[in-house]
């Protein structure tokens, strides 16, 4: 890994304004803070896992760093340049290097286009001067790389299984040799035996190209497997960041600890012998998040201070984490287990 990050994000926020509500009560616009003050650096060849429950803002964050959703506040620095300073054309060119793979492999492919046309589309956009035969050669080479047969180039998405469609989605994202791909739940709709194939494919592609990845998933087992570092989000805020093994073995945030303890292990003896931290209740509404620490309403160790003061996202005193280990908890140095 070289020293300069491909992507740096500072204090990124995405707020959605909800309008509507009851009639005759005036303008009741309310704000959902989907992402609230997130900072991160991503190195070439690195995979950052984003985990958290539904509504934690992980997908919104993934889209915001690609500017598929325009952030409300904060800075995005791409390859050393603040994207706010780029003109339209320069911004367009950065899109070539920043790609996304979506969750639902069927919904994200145009059913009226052939596989070949789908994979070639980013090439047509960014390398319009390529001759048809050159384009076809690039597409076929990419298909082979992701485990599709080049002779399938004229088939349509409905002729493929979910796993194969996801390979098409990956081929489309990879065709311009991007420096970053955001994978938003890329294996969640696939069967277990197919998930492993896709995870391996992404890792192979990363090894060969040195691209950085942001891997978004609610499946913590897969995230541990593919990521180098993991960021845990709750109600739009970062709770904890550490290397993958530290998140699972020595996390310090009570939310991370509860998440990890809730993941079932495919091992009857271990699974039945575990101490689980059962969180009570459900996620609070993001329209009206709790004061102080957003996690405090479900936190097993919450104290008075947690309702009064927002905990800073600070490094823990001692850690085995490779790279920074930061935790947003007032008791970050007392929660080690």
């Amino acid at each position: 890994m070289s020293a300069a990050p491909v992507l740096s994000v500072r204090d990124l926020a995405v707020h959605f304004t909800l309008r509507g509500g009851l009639p005759f009560v005036g303008d009741r616009s309310r704000v959902v803070r989907a992402v609230d003050g997130v900072s991160l650096d991503l190195m070439p060849g690195e995979t950052l896992g984003l985990v958290g429950e539904s509504g934690c803002g992980k997908s919104t964050l993934g889209r915001a760093v690609l500017q598929l959703i325009e952030p409300t506040a904060g800075r995005i620095v791409w390859l050393g340049r603040d994207v706010a300073e780029l003109d339209r054309e320069a911004l367009r060119r950065t899109r070539r290097d920043r790609q996304i793979v979506f969750q639902d492999p069927y919904d994200s492919l145009d059913p009226r286009m052939t596989i070949g046309e789908i994979i070639a589309e980013p090439l047509r956009t960014f390398e319009p001067r390529l001759r048809a035969d050159q384009r076809r050669a690039r597409v076929e080479a990419m298909m082979a790389k992701v485990g599709l047969l080049p002779q399938q180039i004229n088939r349509y998405p409905h002729e493929f299984s979910g796993g194969q469609c996801q390979r098409v989605g990956i081929a489309r994202a990879m065709i311009n040799d991007p420096k970053l791909i955001v994978c938003d739940e890329p294996v969640s709709s696939l069967d277990v035996s197919i998930q492993a194939q896709i995870v391996n494919l992404l890792k192979d592609l990363q090894r060969d190209t040195g691209m950085a990845m942001i891997f978004i998933s609610h499946n913590l087992s897969i995230v541990r497997h593919i990521s180098h570092r993991i960021m845990v989000l709750y109600l739009g805020k970062v709770m904890e960041v550490a290397d993958r093994d530290t998140i699972y073995r020595a996390s310090r945030h009570p939310y991370t600890q509860a998440l990890v303890s809730a993941v079932p292990l495919p091992d009857p003896d271990l699974e039945r012998a575990r101490d689980r931290i059962l969180l009570s209740g459900d996620l609070p509404s993001p329209i009206d998040p709790p004061s102080g620490c957003v996690f405090r309403t479900r936190c097993p160790i919450a104290q008075d201070i947690c309702a009064r003061r927002v905990p800073a996202l600070d490094p823990v005193a001692t850690t085995d984490s490779k790279g920074p280990h930061i935790v947003a908890c007032h008791f970050r140095d007392e929660t080690g287990r």
Partner: protein
């Protein structure tokens, strides 16, 4: 292969449960489609003992849901089932709807993955719960309401007496699944079928629901069938496991046997390719190559053969039938030992 840890407590005696609540014999389910006949369930035989928790594992299209929709008499219009299904000793397969309605909800109940689509959005939870009791138990509305509130409290819905008058959309996903469990348990069924009950839920809520299922099971002595693609969910909750592939049961064993000594190459492949949270990350995952068969064109011989790294000539010609492979362990595989 994973080794067997020393401790074996916390397990109910898994083999040969006493009385069978559910006996499925030679059940086949087929769907007529414009492209041909899809054999979703293919000659399945299976018992569920009283108070037992049986896990059904398989990927999409393996037939695990259709098998139990057949049992419940809930197949789609173009589907038909034949064979035999006995509940508490009496035949229930293909009963006319009137007779089936006396069994469903009363003696067996099914909870589905998405509680929002299985609850009627126009009716309060109270209406949907009391209806069951008035119909099956002949209770008055007042009795039925009291009984329903009790049941909601038992599945840990706070302020049950107030919340029973809410509509389904006013509950969160986890709470809705609790409502479904409460409804399913209202008439104390001898069999409760849970089809991916936690798949749509967040992992912390999943842990709450699974803890509740285990608790209810020991309190009510209800037999449970837990259908899931998540091996972790099965590992923590079930006594026995059946693995399905291409509409057939390919392996069946007590839970520890299946997880620590799988005998079918497909079960082994599933176990190995499942990433584990307790294993250090970064390694390449073993995979099961290829994809599940097209049920319109299941290959002759063993349906798993095209993906199996242990296959030999016989596998492509002769279909392996379920046969003993150890203590209370059965597999459909020609291999002597895996």
């Amino acid at each position: 292969m994973p080794s067997i840890p020393a401790t074996a407590e916390r397990f109910a005696p898994a083999a040969s449960p006493g009385r069978a609540v559910l006996e499925i014999r030679d059940l086949s389910t087929a769907f007529e489609t414009p492209d041909g006949i899809v054999r979703a369930v293919d000659r399945v035989s299976l018992d569920v003992g009283a108070g037992e928790a049986l896990g059904i594992v398989g990927e999409s299209g393996s037939g695990k849901t259709q098998l139990f929709l057949s049992v419940m008499g809930l197949l789609a219009q173009n589907g038909s089932a034949n064979g035999s299904v006995r509940l508490d000793g009496s035949e229930i397969l293909n009963l006319p709807p009137r007779s089936l309605n006396r069994v469903r909800g009363a003696r067996m109940a099914m909870v589905f993955q998405d509680p929002l689509t299985s609850l009627n959005p126009y009716l309060t939870v109270r209406r949907q719960m009391t209806e069951v009791l008035v119909t099956h138990r002949g209770m008055t509305e007042v009795q039925a309401r009291r009984h329903s509130v009790d049941m909601l409290a038992r599945v840990q819905i706070p302020r049950a007496a107030e919340r029973i008058d809410l509509y389904p959309h006013e509950f969160s996903g986890g709470m809705r699944q609790r409502v479904m469990l409460a409804m399913a348990l209202l008439c104390r069924p001898s069999l409760l079928i849970l089809d991916e009950p936690t798949t749509a839920l967040d992992v912390t809520v999943q842990a709450q629901i699974l803890a509740l299922v285990r608790e209810l099971r020991s309190a009510h002595e209800t037999a449970i069938v837990l259908i899931s693609h998540d091996l972790g969910v099965i590992a923590g909750t079930c006594d026995r496991v059946a693995v399905m592939y291409a509409g057939r049961i390919v392996e069946q064993a007590p839970v520890r046997e299946l997880f620590y000594r799988p005998q079918h190459p497909y079960a082994l492949g599933l176990l190995r390719s499942t990433p584990r949270l307790d294993v250090i990350g970064g390694e390449r995952l073993p995979t099961v190559p290829g994809q599940p068969p097209d049920l319109l064109r299941v290959p002759p011989g063993c349906p798993f053969a095209p993906r199996c790294s242990y296959r030999f000539d016989r596998c492509e010609i002769e279909e392996p039938l379920l046969r003993p492979a150890g203590d209370a362990h059965r597999k459909a595989c020609h291999l002597e030992k895996l």
